[in-house]
């Protein structure tokens, strides 16, 4: 029982990273209709950026950790920075291709992803070597029904849940959320209704980037190593999670992320390669039963 609970905690922890990243995929897909393969690299930029921002604040470092206020400042700077990079990528690389076939944008995204990975790799002060991530939160270990849970894990999982609920409310209750939903239904009609489509899409990419930065900080806090390629496979996994839940649906992305995280941890307990593949197997099974994912709605094609 305690082992089960322990795995569940690890699963929730990994699942919250997947879910945060999947939210970015699903929002971009829902609104622009493209698969942003570079999204995983936003996570890397967020984590790597945090590493350097934390270095700037070294003078506040006490006993290897930072005061809560400084941590909040670091996280906010990282989120703003990564969000800005997301907006920049969209404006430079994706906006000119908005009316082109979807695969063209996808290939461009592959190119952008390669660039985002290899540009920092070539920069002399970053380079290809992995770095150890600074401890942002003080780690306190609690025992809970025989399983141990650290304060980092609690902060991480609750942060992810709070962010997701906030995003859900933002999309469904706020004015900008209404604009987003309008753009996702029909770009041209939304533009005719006086919605600034470019602005809405920029905001979407900004939110996606900021969420990816949070995911990156969460991931690097529990697996404290950052390197330029860390985003690529996490990105693929989260993308699978988004599709599993029904891409374009925010609740689906959360659900998919947690399903992926938990199943991966349990399967890894059996065999590490199986742990890697289990998400893909679940995906194929679910898509064969529900071709649009768990929460997704199948749209009828009109002739």
């Amino acid at each position: 029982m305690s082992t089960f609970l322990q795995y569940l905690i690890y699963g929730l922890q990994l699942g919250s990273v997947y879910a945060l990243l999947a939210l970015g995929y699903t929002m971009v897909y829902g609104i622009v209709g493209m698969i942003n393969f570079a999204h995983g690299d936003f996570l890397m930029i967020g984590a790597l950026g945090t590493f350097f921002i934390a270095k700037l604040f070294t003078s506040f470092n006490i006993d290897g950790t930072y005061p809560m206020l400084i941590v909040a400042v670091i996280i906010i700077i990282a989120m703003l920075g990564t969000g800005a990079i997301g907006v920049g990528v969209e404006a430079i690389a994706y906006r000119p291709l908005r009316n082109k076939p979807r695969m063209i944008a996808l290939i461009t995204a592959v190119g952008v992803s390669m660039f985002l990975e290899n540009f920092p790799r070539a920069l002399p002060f970053i380079g290809p070597n992995p770095r150890s991530f600074p401890t942002l939160f003080k780690t306190v270990r609690y025992s809970f029904l025989g399983a141990s849970i650290t304060s980092t894990q609690i902060i991480m999982i609750s942060l992810a849940v709070v962010v997701m609920v906030g995003l859900y409310l933002l999309v469904n209750k706020s004015k900008i959320g209404a604009q987003m939903r309008a753009v996702s239904m029909d770009k041209d009609a939304a533009a005719l209704m006086g919605i600034n489509v470019n602005r809405v899409i920029s905001i979407t990419f900004f939110i996606g980037g900021a969420l990816a930065a949070v995911a990156g900080i969460c991931y690097a806090s529990v697996y404290p190593q950052v390197e330029v390629y860390m985003g690529s496979w996490l990105g693929t996994k989260s993308f699978i999670a988004a599709v599993l839940g029904g891409i374009g649906d925010i609740r689906g992305a959360m659900l998919g992320g947690f399903i992926m995280g938990i199943s991966e941890i349990f399967a890894t307990a059996v065999n590490s390669t199986f742990g890697y593949a289990v998400g893909f197997i679940i995906l194929i099974v679910i898509l064969l039963v529900k071709p649009a994912g768990i929460m997704g709605k199948l749209t009828k094609e009109k002739v």
Binding site: I107, R121, I240, F280
Partner: protein, 342 residues
């Protein structure tokens, strides 16, 4: 015998032979070294992969983003035949060629069989969802290969005889392109293109879309399997991780950068983009970043690909050529009674 037609059909083959002789001459003359030849061989294999991917994505309009999965099946299939079944390093020289061809054929068949299996979900899934299933398939194949102990598991297979030469690769590349060209201008190819342009309309016109989609997957997978076999016998070492999603996305990039729905595009895209990173070697660590930037710029300013969906004359069959007298005229078809009545 229709001599004009024969010349028309044969001259691409003459070009390929000329390329081969020229390379051999330059190699003898010392102007080309082994390294250039190896890059050329990789380009040839990449052309096969890209052209076959083009059959699925560019001509049939399905989205396969796990093409390296088929390649890995072919590579392992062929390597198992030549290395483990026949112990390819210690067999007489004369027996090498049949063993190699058998290996390639088996590799292709394994990939084609799995390709048909992957084609099955395409009955139900469309667009991006199908793309994800193919991605998942590629990763599952990689995971399974990592688990099988006798073929080296994650460490990979070593000691594969290096049978692949530039001649073999050029031969298979030419055969692939010839096959695909004739396929695309055949009734099958017309059906593929109809499915790409509008699947529902194609269905209504009486095209068995299921059959044609699976056929496209099958043929493309077979070619990818053979290319994988050539790859395995070129490197003499294969490991599951070299057929990851990164590899699949390479072929996608080659294909769309060259131009989807155009075999010339596949040739240009695969050849240029295989050579580009090698040409950029002088940039050392900036190489891949510059390569990526060039790729993004190509996609931004030439969204339809470098050749933009056009075909070179020898990769195309004109409409009037379809109605010309065939190359080898069978007497029986000429004497058909209904033809005489008219």
């Amino acid at each position: 015998m229709n001599w004009k037609k024969l010349v028309k059909t044969a001259y691409p083959a003459v070009i390929v032979v000329a390329i081969y002789l020229l390379t051999m001459l330059l190699l003898k003359g010392g102007l080309l070294n082994k390294y250039y030849i190896q890059v050329m061989m990789f380009a040839g294999i990449n052309i096969m992969m890209t052209a076959s991917l083009n059959l699925i994505n560019g001509f049939t309009g399905q989205f396969c983003i796990g093409h390296a999965g088929f390649m890995s099946l072919g590579a392992y299939g062929a390597a198992i035949i030549t290395t483990m079944v026949f112990n390819g390093k210690n067999i007489p020289v004369l027996a090498q060629t049949p063993v190699f061809l058998l290996g390639l054929f088996v590799g292709g068949c394994v990939a084609a069989f799995v390709g048909a299996l992957i084609g099955l979900p395409s009955l139900k899934l469309k667009g991006d969802y199908l793309a994800i299933v193919t991605l998942a398939f590629g990763e599952i194949v990689r995971a399974i290969l990592r688990l099988i102990k006798p073929i080296g598991a994650a460490r990979g297979m070593i000691g594969i005889p290096n049978y692949s030469t530039i001649a073999w690769i050029l031969l298979f590349m030419t055969l692939t392109l010839y096959l695909l060209k004739n396929l695309i201008y055949s009734p099958y190819g017309r059906a593929f293109i109809a499915i790409r342009d509008n699947e529902i309309a194609a269905d209504v016109m009486g095209i068995d879309t299921t059959k044609y989609k699976i056929t496209a997957f099958c043929i493309a997978a077979f070619i990818a399997g053979v290319a994988g076999g050539l790859y395995a016998h070129l490197l003499a070492f294969i490991q599951p991780d070299s057929f990851s999603f990164v590899k699949s996305s390479d072929f996608l990039v080659f294909m769309y950068a060259g131009g989807s729905g155009s075999l010339t595009g596949s040739i240009v895209g695969a050849a240029l983009l295989t050579m580009l990173p090698e040409v950029l070697r002088f940039l050392s660590e900036w190489r891949i970043a510059v390569y990526a930037a060039i790729l993004v710029l190509v996609m931004l300013y030439r969204s339809d690909g470098l050749v933009g969906g056009k075909e070179l004359p020898f990769m195309r069959i004109r409409r009037k050529e379809l109605y010309e007298e065939p190359l080898f005229v069978r007497k029986a078809t000429k004497k058909h009674p209904s033809a005489q009545d008219r």
